[in-house]
Subunit: 651 residues, 3 copies
Amino acid sequence: MIIGVDYYPEHWGKEFWIPDADLMRKTGVGIVRMAEFAWSRLSPKEGVYTFEWLDEIIGIFRERGIKVILGTPTNCPPRWFCEKYPDAIPVGRDARPNPIGIRGHRCYNHPDFLRHAGDMIERMTKRYAKEKTVVAWQIDNELEANFCFCKRCTEKYRAWLKEKYGDLESINKFYGNEVWSGEYSSWEQIDPPFGTYPAAWLNPAYMLDFNRFASDDMIQYVDFQAKIIRRNCPEAKITTNVWFCENMPDFYKTFAGLDFVSFDNYPPTKIPEDAGQFYSHAFHLDLMRGIKRQGFCVMEELSGEPGCWSPMGRMPYPGMISGYSLQAFAHGADAVVHFRWRTAVSGAEMYWHGLIDHSNVPGRRFKEFEELCRVARGLKDIAGTQILSEVAILYSADNEYAFKIQPQTNGMYYLGQIRLFYEALMKYGLNIDIIGEQEELSGYKLIVAPEMYVTDPEVVKKLYAFVKKGGTLVLTNRSGVKNKYNNCIMEPLPAPYRELVGCCVLEYDPVGYDHVAVRFADGSNYRAGQWCDILKPEGEETKVLACYNSEFYKGSAAITENKYGSGTAYYIGTVGEQEMYVHLLEKILQECGIAYIEGLPDHVEITTRTGKDITARFLFNNAGEVRQFILDGKEISLQPFEMRIERSDIK
Amino acid sequence: MIIGVDYYPEHWGKEFWIPDADLMRKTGVGIVRMAEFAWSRLSPKEGVYTFEWLDEIIGIFRERGIKVILGTPTNCPPRWFCEKYPDAIPVGRDARPNPIGIRGHRCYNHPDFLRHAGDMIERMTKRYAKEKTVVAWQIDNELEANFCFCKRCTEKYRAWLKEKYGDLESINKFYGNEVWSGEYSSWEQIDPPFGTYPAAWLNPAYMLDFNRFASDDMIQYVDFQAKIIRRNCPEAKITTNVWFCENMPDFYKTFAGLDFVSFDNYPPTKIPEDAGQFYSHAFHLDLMRGIKRQGFCVMEELSGEPGCWSPMGRMPYPGMISGYSLQAFAHGADAVVHFRWRTAVSGAEMYWHGLIDHSNVPGRRFKEFEELCRVARGLKDIAGTQILSEVAILYSADNEYAFKIQPQTNGMYYLGQIRLFYEALMKYGLNIDIIGEQEELSGYKLIVAPEMYVTDPEVVKKLYAFVKKGGTLVLTNRSGVKNKYNNCIMEPLPAPYRELVGCCVLEYDPVGYDHVAVRFADGSNYRAGQWCDILKPEGEETKVLACYNSEFYKGSAAITENKYGSGTAYYIGTVGEQEMYVHLLEKILQECGIAYIEGLPDHVEITTRTGKDITARFLFNNAGEVRQFILDGKEISLQPFEMRIERSDIK
Amino acid sequence: MIIGVDYYPEHWGKEFWIPDADLMRKTGVGIVRMAEFAWSRLSPKEGVYTFEWLDEIIGIFRERGIKVILGTPTNCPPRWFCEKYPDAIPVGRDARPNPIGIRGHRCYNHPDFLRHAGDMIERMTKRYAKEKTVVAWQIDNELEANFCFCKRCTEKYRAWLKEKYGDLESINKFYGNEVWSGEYSSWEQIDPPFGTYPAAWLNPAYMLDFNRFASDDMIQYVDFQAKIIRRNCPEAKITTNVWFCENMPDFYKTFAGLDFVSFDNYPPTKIPEDAGQFYSHAFHLDLMRGIKRQGFCVMEELSGEPGCWSPMGRMPYPGMISGYSLQAFAHGADAVVHFRWRTAVSGAEMYWHGLIDHSNVPGRRFKEFEELCRVARGLKDIAGTQILSEVAILYSADNEYAFKIQPQTNGMYYLGQIRLFYEALMKYGLNIDIIGEQEELSGYKLIVAPEMYVTDPEVVKKLYAFVKKGGTLVLTNRSGVKNKYNNCIMEPLPAPYRELVGCCVLEYDPVGYDHVAVRFADGSNYRAGQWCDILKPEGEETKVLACYNSEFYKGSAAITENKYGSGTAYYIGTVGEQEMYVHLLEKILQECGIAYIEGLPDHVEITTRTGKDITARFLFNNAGEVRQFILDGKEISLQPFEMRIERSDIK
């Protein structure tokens, strides 16, 4: 397994380069990412190119056997570019150019920007095409879907719509534009969503399409870069580094044309006072692995106190830096690149701490990193192994967008409900896949599909087939609400899934922050909130698993189970506390015949990687306290953030 | 009594129209409001008119004996209009056109908008002039005072000032513009209040006038429409639907030229955990009745979960939909139109639920509505009856504006203090009028005049005369503070009312969220807050009813009573908890000789409508629990939101 | 000692002038400030001047022996000016002119504004040059550093940079502009910090320089005015009135060319429910005295309820108005001017209450003011006496800016930490100086230097010398972090102070709102938060005074003491609760040999003024309750806000 660092030679005098590279080699650093913000150093003036320093530092790494990932430096065009092409600065919702001075100051669609960026990438890729040390390319940095509102992007949005719908009549029809006299009679009437009011105030069909366009348009920009890189460096791997940002692209489409996924992974450093509030990034890591259903790379990994975009956060607790790297391996990463080697002494990010402090004196965190490198070297046999899972959770970019556009009720978040299932499954020590809703489902015993809100008929068909053939499916409230245009389906909910789950929603109560009681047939009680579907069981084999135990609909069904074909479909009409899912899923796992581990303490995470000849079980304590438990008859004790890796040969 | 629905034929395929209308007839729907957002369907392109569909649906209703209210569709000009006349879009405080895509995207003063709107209204009214089914017209929709800051509106504001004051010298004088060198030396120096800082940072005299202008200017737009409708449809009734919005117009002036008041009534659907926090819309309904001192119409009434402008709220509790409609009748409405027949499946308002859900399967709420229609049919004898009251509360648009411009202290709201009196009176089962301060007072025994802040000398004169002739008046803190220009009066408070109440304010303490103690002569103690006037009784017959019992002014008078002429004037120098008003008003009611009911439980509302031959008493339980009590010796039990109507013939 | 009032003759009819002046004389008012907003009354049209009314009112005061301070009325140019020169209105971060209608609507750098302002000051100063009654001039009003973003100010910012750095290469180097490709290649690429995101998102070196420019540029405007006044009125004293505003200038540089400091002093009127939260303005007063290290003037002093910029606050408690004026004397003021004589009846500030209410009937507050005047007359012998202190706290404008630009952690404020020391010292009844970090330190026994964040090498040198010669120094966390460009110093913290304090910071934990435990060698325990430096004692004589007693670094040093030369340097690595400083400073005072008072109750403030022949001790109870204590063997009892002054002749 590879441990790397993000390194900014351009931030440091040359006198630092060789000592830094020597220390990296000694420590066991295998790869270095560079150059993604270095445009002004590679081309300080229009037409002037100064690649020599980059040649030199690449050479330094080559000599020490350290591989290099190069970033295309297109996130930050130099000031000379901004001065010359002021209208290449992205335009905000207020119809005015964003102020520059931070980063990301380039419109993906400005022809001069594309010309200059293309030229830079062309030169870089040609220059390093034969350089074996450069093993991969990162496109730009932390790209977001295109929320530039300039005239050029507006034109592209109109063109995107024209290609999708052909004519305005279709748009008016599929958007329901008759509401509030919103019918378009010319293409020029279509604008991006200017203004800062909540998205919910605008037509949700229009808004969902705008989000899709914004994602597609960003991907077009990714593909523009990938094409140049591919042409000049056909053997190098290509990626871009994503994160959970405000304007998220569709991750599945983003990486369709790229070679591997990379992710910027910054788990919170604060240990919560209420241990129940501990947040695991395992969820994000599994989601990343699921994008291409293969190993991935962490391109930026926690290395010290975060700062810069807000006041500084807590110092990483001993074990966190190492533990969270190993956690990434445990969930399918094959390389983890730490951000960053040394903390910057200038610029806005000077308090986003690296492995080494401003003082350049390696300290506690660096020692932990050294130990991590040592451990990672011992994991060579695990590289390339797989994470095999019988359970998958479905995720959909359309749902992500649609719920952001129209928040259903106070406290309800799409990813929040997905996490409730994820964390309940994690309590049972399972490998869990998180995959796109469009993915193939064969091979899974259990599919959990929370809030299937925007409906893709192909997905519906696939889920029916999955259950019919014997699979187990869990569906929830807010499924089947919308057609693919983001308009409501005129059928009783869960509309297309009604037959599958054998029940329908008589009425719903958006309870928001209020609490209701849910009672299971076995007498166990749970608190629920956010939403209550009042269910009417309809199928011959529909069983009521739990009822509401408060409100005027006390006694009405809240959770049902239905036989369909050879399989089973569950419907959960409300959003319960974490324990409710733990309770319910144990029953479901048993009925699916999925082997699971009982009695794991909170925040102990167990996953397994499987290779041709080896199985490695990762036991991780993602808590600030020692955890003790019995596993396979043996007593295990894990220190805070300790990762234990148990190998067994495949017999 | 009439029950109606708001209906959007343009949102649904024609195949829905006849089934919908049939179901309405069967259910007992008496009236339908339509067309107030349908401009793009009535004129899809400039010069093209497509009224045929509206003819058709009106015909369908005509055939079923259902009357129609038509809205002028001027709230939402079509996109072709916006494209052709971009400067007809209202301009915000930031001096830039508001983004469009929601609604209300038209400047009341743009000549091309007025020309197109006038033409549309002209055509509609001519077309349906002879159509007896169309019984009323609604002007635009939920109009707000004119806060457009475009050049045209700025000119109109200057012209309004010129007409009011004649010259700049007067403005400078009456505004006190010598402060901060704010003196105007040309009309062009006068702008609307650009910028987003608090209103209090600007000259309050200027701000009050701007609010008055904004209201007057909206009313001019109403009158522009009313004139066309009146000319073509002299027999139809004209209204516009108001609500408590951010930029409220003066309701009294708004309806001066119209035939009846209509109101959009959305009581909260969440039952508060603290029953003491239950909010009654009775107050709003009585305020609406008081605008023209006659029966009114609810043009939009709660029908399901609210949503769209924020995440969805709670589902209406059983009984709410019916109960709140009947509550409107109990407070003087003669028609209640429910918003809306069926929930929209597209557009931003798709989660503002109607009587029928997206599924088009009528459910629990629709059943309740059916029952409501049945009940309403049984109330024919009550239609046109009156609500007679011996008590009136005064309200003033000027005060509303002036308190919004300069919030006096934390927690103090003008309507909030009015409600404290209103709810205390409601505890005694009284009919309560809420009337404009300019209204005639004869016939009342008790006038409650909270916070008579901006002084109209005519009103002062009237109140003196009212008390002199034997009336009882309750005045409060923050009365007589301002002259009609919104400048402070240079006299000890309550300035013009000093003689009437027989006391003056030595000093005041804006206590805000802090609490003080108030002690009555009978030893009862109450918590007060927000404001403390330290009173000095001055009249020969001034009695101190209560003193402060905390702070350094402990022992100073807080509430006084004064004989004046044949009547009595009370002055309440602080803002107490609800119970303080209940306590004090019992004494006052007794002294006025107003009969009242004792011992009503919280949230039981009793009002009486009186006709020539009949008296009907409405008993309403506005709480989520059963209420039991004794009335006239009989035990009464009311379910949550139950309305019981007791008739007695006039003997 | 002089008591004065702020008076606005232009707000009142002439019929008020003589009665007002007579009452002032009778009451004992010694000085009146006028005219700082009166431009439109002095020049109602371009080229028209109307000084006669000002002549007249000055004459009225002259006849009554009342001195006058005149304000230059440049804060508010008249509307005719704004109409004629719309681009003289300051431009905001959104690159658009600020809306006018409040005040401060002038760009310091607009040539027409400077021409008109210069002309007005020229005329005023010439007119009153011989008028002995006019004893001082106030420049403009409550000036803020120049945050105008207009083209003209942008040019000046570039010129300021050009003068400071000479070339772009230096700027790029000292700013670390290689980060995010921020390197300038032309001067036109340098803009002020447009946009409303947090300052921390921009390059901190750039931001600190912009703050310095903004301060310098305001001072240039001050000097422009001072030069005219000085030329025409060489004998008059010149000042400007400052306060703790959002865009603070460097106070030390601001007053370098002026004659005395003046300050607008508005202590909070609300007595906190938690007495521990009582806020003393003593800190601000001492900071003001320290600016020029001489007596100062309060130019605006609390006189009644504050209002206008927010809802009204509480009425001043009896004793506050008098007590807070005397508190200013106790901390070195020689004159206190009350804002304002009578409350305005028009304009936005009508609820910022003066001594007399809107009614013009003097009340409780005015009686207190009369008594204050009487007391002040009895303090003639104290005028001109000095406040001698053995302790100084250092303050730096650079730190103020730099911490605002990059908040270090939740809850940490520069002035907040300074106050912790200040209030601990105040518990010991000491005179405390607060002085600029650039000041001479000789004469002090103890220097407290909290958060010496931005490093001035001269200051470092001075502090080493101070300790070497036997002084005692207290340093804290976040010292030596930045070089003078606001970039991080590449050395272990506290970098330049490492040798002096004999320890270094191994690592730090930005704990923010979390709490940690600190334990002293004597077993006493305190709560700390915000920040934890984990210290490594390095010197031979370094002692650990306290350790952390929680977190994984439990047992690590938190507070150290080091002998250096003949002196001692303490380093406090965390931010403790108030009591921790009280505990620690007692030890330090003892070791320094500074005499102090023991056992003072909370909020009793004792300071001493010393003259040639007299010593006056001021005993002030800054609390809402009686305070009793023993002092010099005598029992003292102080009423709320009571000031007792004890004289003793110098023997």
